[in-house]
Amino acid sequence: MTTLTMVEAVRSALMTEMERDDRVMVLGEDVGKLGGVYRATEGLIERFGPDRVFDTPIAEASIIGASVGLAASGVIPVAELQFLGFGHLAFHQVAHQLARLRYRSRGKLTAPVTIRAPFGGGVRALEIHSDAYESMYANVPGLKVVAPATAHDAKGMLLASIRDEDPVLFLEPLRGYRLIKDEVPDGDYTVELGKARIAREGNDITLIAWSGMVPQAERAADTLASEGISAEVIDLRSITPLDVDTLATSVAKTGRAVIIQEGPLSSGFAAEVATTIAEEVFYSLEAPVQRVAGPDTPYPFAAALEDFYLPGQSRILGAARKALSA
């Protein structure tokens, strides 16, 4: 065990898998000598050479499109999108091509591609760097979307993603790259995709979050604990497949749920979680399910407005108290 930051855990997973399997190749913008704009791929090119750690032209559609072809040839690509916000330039290759290759070819061609992308705000970045677009990808059949919240899960889930026979979009919380730090096993291990983590056990209310919002949910749980309220915190870890059982079991126990997402409220993934709870455990609910989210506005490109946008403690605690008082 070593204490690693989120970005170090990502790098450790890439090192581990490239060492283990020489079919694995990293490609993306500035992933080579620079080691990625957030240094997630630092040291890889020195160890594995420029053929396996490839600086691509700035062209997202062909980074993903070529990964589809590379995968069909027998390579296992780990493609980096420098920011998820730039993923729209490749969205058709992700949704129509990558995610459907197995289906379209009736199983003849498969695409074991992992796309890594930082997402979410809180780092005072310019426009389009901070948007949390996971719900758009969650609506794509054939694609798995995962968003771990700890360094431990980042390494284990990235290893599981690269070894998955199907494409996985692996989302990394931009704000958490260096802020998130925890104990990570040194060697090889995987964390199963599609399984949520109970970050904290509790009995009175369930706070559900993923990626960068998990630390916010945990802080809110601390505050509630100081008031004598026992909050359970669920870290979804996987957006799709969604771990319905863990959600249902928790809300059946607590009777109250608050879902926290960073992106705009309407049609966000929190809506999917809320509906799932309603379908599974409606009669256990003691209060309407609450959603905490960014407003239905563009993510602000001005640092001055970012703190107003992001769901923080007051919004989360407000929603929790509303649920608790019902």
């Binding site: 062909s62 499109g65 040839s73 199983g107 003849k108």
Partner: protein
């Protein structure tokens, strides 16, 4: 590429628009419209190959005609024919080693699919509207047809790049029409092919029309081949109705790729004799009808005249091939028709995931129950 004879660029603007004028190489004609060889030109194929490619073109033509007829009878869905483009399609396919080379198709390359070994029943199964038509059998090195125009080109580059990285044999050809060369993926793929020196060939079938939009509205460039200059990639313009010229330039491009010299773009200028597909109405946007167009450009008549003049083809061979192809078509359609009868709701879920999530499995069970009456 020393063996490819090229011509000097044309002088007039009209000719430049037709033949290029920005450094693209123009492949000198070999088989002329009257079925004779151009002065000083040699046939690049041996007698067996001439007969093979002619047979391929004839079979493709007959299958296309039957496809349109099946669609009119309501036996298959929307259908796009290759008719008139057989010189470009078959000529290029003849340069491939079907065992090691891969075709990343667009959707109008029937002769290529046949040459790569696609069983005809698969084609009919596809157009009947059954999922089995999408999966090519093991050993038939062809990607599924592509609906999202241009999106196949990065796949072709990626696959070729992967072969190179793994030192696996194999050249990959990405087929694309003139209209789709306006898509961003075409440019991104070309740029990446240049950078990676992937063993790939970009084969553009410029048939003059993108549904109703003529080539001159598609781009102001002197040619589509001219675009390759921006990728550091050599490019050629060839008369797509001259099957020998197409074959010879494709053979060189494939050899370059195999030798590690990287990608080539070939623009085969041909003509879409028929409609874009069976839902299209060309009379709304062009005056020339199919009969006039085919009389003017037909690559098949050209080759048949040539082969006949050498004694490699005659009316008896033609009749025998026509008869055997009709039998092949009928039998393949019967097989496809039977295959397409098998339809279950669970097929919606086949091949979506290697390991389907629990929720998807529940959805499958629910839909199976719904239709289990």
């Amino acid at each position: 590429m020393e063996t490819i004879k090229t011509e000097s660029p044309p002088d007039t603007l009209a000719d430049k628009q037709r033949f290029g004028g920005h450094g693209e190489n123009i492949v000198a004609p070999i088989l002329q419209a009257d079925g004779t060889l151009a002065a000083g030109a040699e046939c690049p194929m041996d007698d067996d190959q001439v007969q093979e490619v002619l047979s391929l073109m004839i079979r493709s033509r007959l299958i296309d005609e039957r496809g349109v007829s099946y669609q009119r009878q309501g036996r298959i869905g929307t259908f796009s024919e290759n008719r008139g483009q057989e010189g470009a399609s078959a000529g290029s396919a003849m340069a491939l080693n079907a065992e090691t080379d891969w075709v990343v198709q667009s959707y109008r390359e029937l002769p290529v699919l046949l040459r790569q070994g696609m069983p005809l029943e698969q084609y009919w199964t596809l157009f009947i509207g059954h999922p089995d038509g999408w999966g090519f059998p093991e050993g038939v090195n062809v990607w599924p047809l592509q609906i999202e125009l241009g999106a196949q080109m990065p796949h072709a580059v990626g696959m070729a790049w992967g072969f190179k990285r793994q030192q696996r044999p194999g050249v990959v050809v990405g087929y694309i029409g003139d209209g789709a060369t306006s898509e961003g993926d075409f440019y991104e793929a070309g740029n990446l092919a240049g950078v990676t020196k992937a063993p790939v060939v970009f084969f553009v079938q410029n048939n003059g029309w993108a549904i109703s939009t003529p080539r001159e509205r598609q781009t102001a460039a002197s040619s589509i081949a001219a675009k390759a200059a921006g990728w550091g990639m050599p490019s050629y313009i060839v008369d797509g109705n001259d099957v020998f010229a197409v074959y010879s330039v494709m053979r060189e491009a494939v050899a370059r790729a195999r030798n590690g010299e990287g990608a080539t773009l070939i623009e085969a200028q041909t003509y879409r004799v028929g409609a874009h597909n069976t839902s299209d109405a060309p009379s709304r946007y062009r005056t020339e009808d199919g009969a006039d167009a085919i009389a003017r450009t037909d690559p098949l008549v050209r080759l048949r005249t040539y082969a006949t003049s050498l004694g490699l083809w005659d009316a008896d061979r033609d009749a025998a091939l026509t008869e055997s192809t009709y039998i092949e078509i009928d039998e393949a359609f019967k097989v496809a028709h039977e295959r397409a009868k098998v339809r279950t709701p669970s097929m919606l879920f086949d091949h979506v995931y290697a390991d389907p999530p629990a929720r998807t499995i529940r959805q499958r069970e629910t839909i199976e129950k719904e239709f289990d009456q």
